[in-house]
């Protein structure tokens, strides 16, 4: 109390020295905000005087002060995350301090949370008929989070963050409620402080994986909260391109106080779990055995299995460190938040000379400069100025500078880990100690260097003016600018072992890309109370976006000698460049009517125009209607039944995706020829092209029982995309090879988002709260409009994801064995099994694995053995569960698990190759053993028949039986996050001059529980991409020689002063 008086006096002093103020008519409100059960102070709670722009936040002791309140009657509202909002009336007299305390009750529901929805107007969640999810970063302070992708991962049902692989700096794909488009991008649109930002991807120059996400450029330390709109019903007021959902990021604005510094230091240890199988092989002759013996240094005999571990020998423990300093505060009319952050991570990929040692050369051989590294510096600043009580300006900006280095990887014949996994012990030699059969040696591939440097800056200017008590004007303008430069380099004579034949004289590829996105957003909001019980909020606005991208690339090969690394140093060069501009404009209107405080009805409409629409199409309209009804606010009868809170809601709305910038036009592309510059067919064109329309409805409820300690959230949603843009392949013989977009498809999906939260215990020394979420997703392509089905990867048979009518988009279709037969083995190519006698006769001699065929099924009887349904790469059920525990007053423990289950299948291409491929595979222990039996002259016919039977049932894979023994069930549970934090006692911290100090230990991807036998059920052949297309969208769930997702342990110290 003494301290409060001191604060009050200092404010009073401030007030005295400022001229021109009518002090006599102003008073002060002060008090404390505590938990109503435990009596614990609630620091950081917001206390606002309703109707005026006056308020404060409670300090560490839960105390607040609001000076300069005009004398009279006021309503004061206290609000804190995880607690029910409360308001009280108070009477203020001039020159006096009035005490007003609040006791808030805990709730696991967040109906009173204020969100900025599709209308851009702050609204309490209770009034919205559609779901808006929020992620508050102060609840994630201890979690092992380095990027925004990790911040979103495993939090919200229906919001799926798909990592795709474990390379350092790799970004994740984001899918909200599955896929809403068959051809355009399925990534949500991202806004930061009201400005649209580039949330695309970096360049893919190293084979498919390791691609950065531009979302990770945003400084996580500067984020206050993230709002996620999941579907068309919610996203209507964002128009074209919002059908995949919207992610809105809001940065910290500071608070009215002296400068508060926060310093955080993190040390991170990263390692790959050993999920990659060792390399097993056997010598088939004495000469081969002798060669193996001389390389390995121990005696090898023919027909005996030898095991080596080439892939895992390339890894060691990676190290990362993060330093972050931020300062926030504010004075009269200004608050600010400034933050700087630096992260340097050198991942676990570390090939060394000793990895290539042989018995006669134990020191090994030199290796190249391929590395997995991520270095990122971030700066953000946010200044909030309120010169008068009617006007508010805000400028916020963020700048990131990233450098990422990635080794060649994934489905890439020059990938370092890829080739290491295909090493065969029987092929080793002095200059090929990892036994590569084709393409290059592993050591050679370490000479390929890939790097990307990116600068990303956004600026957002916003102003808010209260014209009258009821009418507010809002304007936001901003620019997001990205500049990316990637270099992919092969040095002169990188074929150091004489194996590779590709660009042996060296090559260099330089890619440049820059993107500017301008945003202009203007709104007017009119609030009116009428007829005592009705309140209305009307918003009208205009939004305009301009996106411009410039790209250029140069490729050169053949250096004159070693040491030269520039493009101009090459003997022959090619260059390309491109330019793209998209303009999007929209007008919207929304009316929300509330009856008392328990019934709200909202209706809105948006009109969109876009430069990408065909010439015969003008604007698209997107309507929305929603209702929210809170029975427990209407009457207390439900309370008597034990239901403390109940809200029912429903919403329906439409949104849509526009086609690409020039998809409507027939074009010819300039391409050179030996006779000079030429023109070749480009795009077929379609003047009727228009956007696709995604219509969604959702119904749901929030219910709280046990006085809101146990909360349920449930939503059922249903979406239909009509006039879906399908990439239609017109006859190849027509001369235009590109697929042309046509509005001929239909895609339907439905699902549920379920969330349960239980604040089980809240005592002084122990608090426990547990949570679980589940999202159910079902999608189907109901109509492709007569266009032929599309396959990810085109004619490359190894990827089996199809966009086909009657299946989920991206479903795996491929070959299936007739497992009902005792011996599904065919010797003469008629797909009919031979008898046991015939088979024994055949196998009385040694046989190769290609001398017999499997008996295949044709389930739909159409003569095509490669279109059987084998599962889909998106699970029926996904979600998370975990708990937060506070114990011994200062300790906190949090754990989050993520799971995926239900018709969830991954194309385990890694093992399909390793089990089956004659040249570069057959090096897993089991496959090698079976092949040994088949080829060994000592085996009996019976042994060989059994080995052959096992072969077709488990090991035979790849073309021409694509999909066989490859598509595997991949249900998993992953222990995603663990954190243990200790808050140093306040007086101990104060001795060091600190406000607070926290020590924590955290882990990420700690354990994986799955029956999937491949490298990682979350791996994918390609990682994040910008833009749409069949591959970017539906080449998914393909585990193709990638890096497993690493385990990380983080130690951090966070101090405030």
């Amino acid at each position: 109390m003494l301290r409060s008086i001191r604060i009050l006096l200092s404010y009073g002093a401030l007030v005295l020295i400022l001229p021109g103020l009518a002090l006599a008519q102003k008073g002060t409100i002060a008090g404390k905000v505590i938990d109503e059960i435990s009596g614990e102070a609630l620091p950081g709670a917001s206390v606002l005087v309703q109707g005026l722009d006056l308020g404060s936040a409670t300090n560490a002791d839960g105390e607040y002060t609001i000076p300069n309140v005009p004398a009279g009657e006021h309503t004061v509202v206290a609000r804190f995350i995880g607690y029910k909002t409360k308001s009280q009336k108070v009477s203020v007299s001039g020159g006096a301090i009035v005490e007003l305390n609040f006791q808030l009750g805990e709730t696991v529901l967040q109906l009173d949370e204020i969100v900025v929805t599709g209308a851009g107007v702050a609204s309490a969640k209770r009034k919205l008929g559609n779901t808006v999810s929020t992620i508050n970063t102060d609840k994630l302070a201890d979690a092992p989070i380095t990027t925004v992708s990790e911040m979103l991962s495993a939090r919200e049902p229906g919001v799926n963050i798909l990592p795709s692989g474990g390379l350092t700096g790799e970004g994740a794909r984001i899918r909200i409620r599955g896929s809403a488009s068959l051809s355009q991008t399925n990534e949500p649109v991202v806004y930061v402080d009201g400005v649209r930002v580039n949330a695309g991807a970096g360049f893919s120059i190293a084979g498919g994986g390791g691609v950065a996400s531009r979302l990770d450029d945003i400084n996580p330390a500067s984020i206050e909260r993230i709002e996620i709109l999941k579907g068309a019903a919610a996203a209507t007021l964002y128009g074209t391109q919002a059908s995949n959902g919207i992610i809105q990021i809001f940065t910290k604005k500071g608070q009215f106080s002296k400068p508060r510094f926060t310093l955080e230091i993190e040390q991170n240890m990263i390692s790959y779990p050993s999920r990659i199988k060792p390399n097993v092989g056997f010598a088939r002759s004495q000469e081969q055995a002798d060669r193996m013996s001389s390389v390995f240094g121990f005696t090898v005999r023919p027909w005996e299995l030898v095991t080596r571990d080439f892939a895992n020998s390339l890894f060691s423990t990676g190290l990362g460190q993060t330093y972050s300093l931020s300062v926030s505060g504010g004075g009269t009319g200004v608050t600010y938040f400034v933050s700087g952050r630096f992260n340097l991570t050198d991942g676990p990929f570390n090939p060394e000379p000793a990895d290539f040692a042989t018995a006669s050369n134990p020191a090994g051989l030199p290796v190249g400069g391929a590395n997995d590294l991520n270095r990122r510096g971030q700066f953000s600043a946010n200044v909030n100025v309120t010169p008068t009580d009617k006007l508010n300006f805000r400028i916020s900006t963020g700048y990131t500078n990233t450098r990422q280095e990635t080794p060649d990887n994934n489905n890439n014949i020059y990938g370092v880990l890829s080739l290491a996994q295909f090493g065969k012990p029987e092929w080793v030699s002095e200059n090929n100690p990892m036994g590569q059969v084709a393409f290059a040696t592993v050591r050679e591939t370490t000479y390929q260097e890939n790097s990307e440097d990116t600068e990303h800056i956004y600026v957002s200017l916003a102003s808010n003016y209260k014209l009258t008590k009821e009418l507010t004007l809002d304007a936001t303008a901003g620019l997001d600018y990205t500049r990316q430069r990637a270099v992919s380099y092969r040095p002169f004579r990188w074929n150091v072992d004489g194996k590779t034949g590709a660009q042996t004289e060296g090559s260099i590829n330089i890619l440049n890309f820059d993107q500017k996105e301008w945003t202009l957003d203007v709104k007017a909001n009119w609030n009116k109370q009428f007829m005592k019980d009705f309140n209305s909020s009307f918003v009208a606005g205009f939004q305009g976006f301009i996106t411009q991208t410039n790209s250029s690339a140069g490729f050169g090969q053949v250096f004159p000698g070693p040491g030269i690394e520039t493009l101009s140093g090459t003997d022959n060069q090619t260059a390309t460049s491109g330019f793209l501009e998209i303009i999007n404009a929209g007008w919207f209107f929304q009316e929300q009517v509330g009856f008392k405080d328990y019934l709200y009805l909202t209706a809105g409409i948006r009109y969109d125009a876009n430069s990408a629409f065909g010439s015969r199409f003008t604007t698209q309209a997107y309507p929305k209607v929603s209702i929210s009804f809170i029975p427990t606010a209407m009457s207390s009868r439900l309370n008597d039944m034990g239901i403390s809170t109940l809200r029912l809601r429903a919403a329906v709305g439409a949104s849509g995706q526009q086609p690409g910038a020039f998809d409507a036009l027939t074009t010819f592309v300039p391409e050179s020829s030996p006779a000079g510059p030429g023109l070749t067919p480009g795009n077929l064109g379609n003047p009727d092209l228009k956007p696709e329309v995604s219509t969604e409805y959702e119904v749901g409820f929030e219910a709280g029982i046990l006085n809101d300690k146990l909360g349920f959230e449930f939503t059922y949603w249903d979406r239909t995309v009509s006039d879906a843009l399908v990439l239609r392949q017109f006859p190849i013989s027509g001369g235009f090879l590109r697929q042309q977009l046509d509005n001929i498809g239909e895609l339907v999906a439905n699902g549920m988002d379920i969330s349960v939260r239980f604040a089980a215990m809240k005592k002084e020394n122990l608090s426990v709260d547990v949570f679980a979420t589940a999202a159910y997703l079902q999608e189907k392509i109901t109509d492709l409009g007569g266009a032929p089905p599309l396959k990810a990867g085109g004619s490359y048979p190894r990827y089996r994801n199809w966009v086909a009518e009657g299946y989920a988009p991206g479903a795996h279709l491929g070959a299936k064995l007739d497992r009902s037969l005792e011996y599904p083995i065919d010797l003469n190519g008629d797909n009919v099994p031979e008898s046991r006698e015939e088979l024994l006769a055949f196998f009385s001699d040694p046989r190769s694995t290609t001398s017999f065929r499997p008996v295949l099924l044709d389930e739909d009887g159409d003569g095509d053995f490669l279109d059987n349904y084998l599962g889909k790469p998106t699970p029926d059920w996904s979600g998370n569960f975990g708990l937060n525990v506070g114990f011994l007053k200062r300790f906190r423990l949090a754990a989050v698990f993520e799971y995926k289950a239900g018709d969830f299948y991954v194309n385990n291409l890694t093992d399909a190759f390793r089990k089956s491929h004659g040249l570069i595979g057959r090096n897993t222990p089991d496959a090698a053993a079976r092949e040994l039996v088949l080829l060994n002259p000592e085996s009996s016919a019976e042994d060989r028949l059994n080995a052959a039977n096992e072969w077709v049932r488990e090991y035979l894979a790849l073309s021409p039986y694509s999909g066989l023994n490859t598509i595997e069930k991949a249900d998993f549970v992953r222990w995603r996050e663990l954190s243990i934090a200790y808050d140093v006692p306040r007086n101990l911290a104060a001795r060091f001059g600190l406000r607070n100090a926290t020590l924590s230990f955290a882990g990420r991807n700690i354990a994986l529980f799955t029956s999937y036998s491949g490298t990682d059920p979350e791996n994918n052949a390609i990682s994040r991409r910008s833009g749409g297309g069949t591959n970017n969208n539906f080449l998914t769930g393909v585990d193709a020689f990638g890096f497993p997702i690493p385990r990380q342990f983080v130690f951090s110290l966070k101090v405030g002063f």
């Binding site: 009319g333 008068t388 205009f542 793209l580 074009t667 030996p674 067919p681 017109f730 006859p731």
Partner: protein, 432 residues
Amino acid sequence: MKNRKKLYGNSGALSSLLVVGIAALFALGSMGCEDPLDVENPNDLLEQDLQNPTAAAAIASGALRTTSVGVGYCLAPLITATDEVTWIGSRDAWRELDFGNVAFAGNEFTDNAMKFLHEGRWTSDNAVTILSGFKEKGELEDDNILARAHLLAGLTRVYIADWFDDWTFSDKTEPAPNLGKANMRQVYEDAIAHLTAAFNTATDDGLKADIISLRARAKHAMAIWDLLNPAGSTPANGFVDAGADDAQQALALMGSNDYRFQLTFGSGQGDNDFSWQVNGRRELTIGAIPVDPISGSEDPRAAAAVAEFKDSGSRGSTDWAPITVTSAAEMHLIIAESLYAQGDTDAARNHLNVMRTAAGLPEITTEDVGDMIVYERHANLFIQGRRLNDMYRFGIQDPMWQTTSDAYTQPGVLLPITDAELQSNPLIDPNR
């Protein structure tokens, strides 16, 4: 949080006006412009831009590029089925071709390759149409450009008919039915018609040499087609008498026995996929160089072709080996075979010996002129993609062909219409 001080007077009203003003300006500005949604596309040309006569040379060059790339792509699966090339890499579909399974419509390499030949065919035909239009209006600055377009239209047809059992000629989004296996001869006839038009339009001698030599090759190949269709059996007599007159005219225009008409590739000018598969990716390898039966050593002409194919040093890339379309050597072979088919064995022998002596090889003295014609074709046309039809008509089998394969059981069978076309063209009738 915020403090209420009236320090800035009426700035509030001014600010509100500013905000509204910006919005109004933007709205007005957007209404005032022609069409604010009109964006520039400096990357490509629209179809109507091709009606500009200054685009003539580029239109013909585009046809050259797409045709060259298409031929390079289709060469790979076709040649893998012969005894000239073997698979040594990781993509199993090549193995199927090695085994002689040529007619599988789902082979990923045939499926991918034929797309580019379709693009080349359409682009060449489109070039002929547009450039003929310019010529009619007197807007064509150089007749040789039109001649080149006709040449390419003929060239694509020769390769299509040489390598494929069936084909379709659609136009952009308008599908056309397939010709049908029995009607593929028409493709040679159309090729010859284009080449005739090309010859009559061209004014450059080098160009005329290319054109007439290709017409000789087309007539010769058409006669082989008559022998091998319908497919299913080895002909009793594989030699044909066709194209000799054109071959003579070509030799006169060529002026040298080393003359070759080649499709070339280069940095930014199109890649030869077959070259990449052998030289770069090392998925395929060229088999043994034919051994001259008389001298007993590797044939220098085939060896030279392989050396040129593999030479990447000076060109710097593994993707740019040239493809020989016709050569003076081929003209001699057509003439020699013609003489032999007419029964004039001695004249045929003499003609072959002219070529052999020029290459430093010992003369043929035996009566096995027929066998030597077969050998000379193998050696002189090595890795040009001509071997498969020769193997069929002369009853030669690749030891790698499985006895159940298409090539083994049906001599004359060529690459099919593949899945990508079958799925995208509703008018294809596989039974035609």
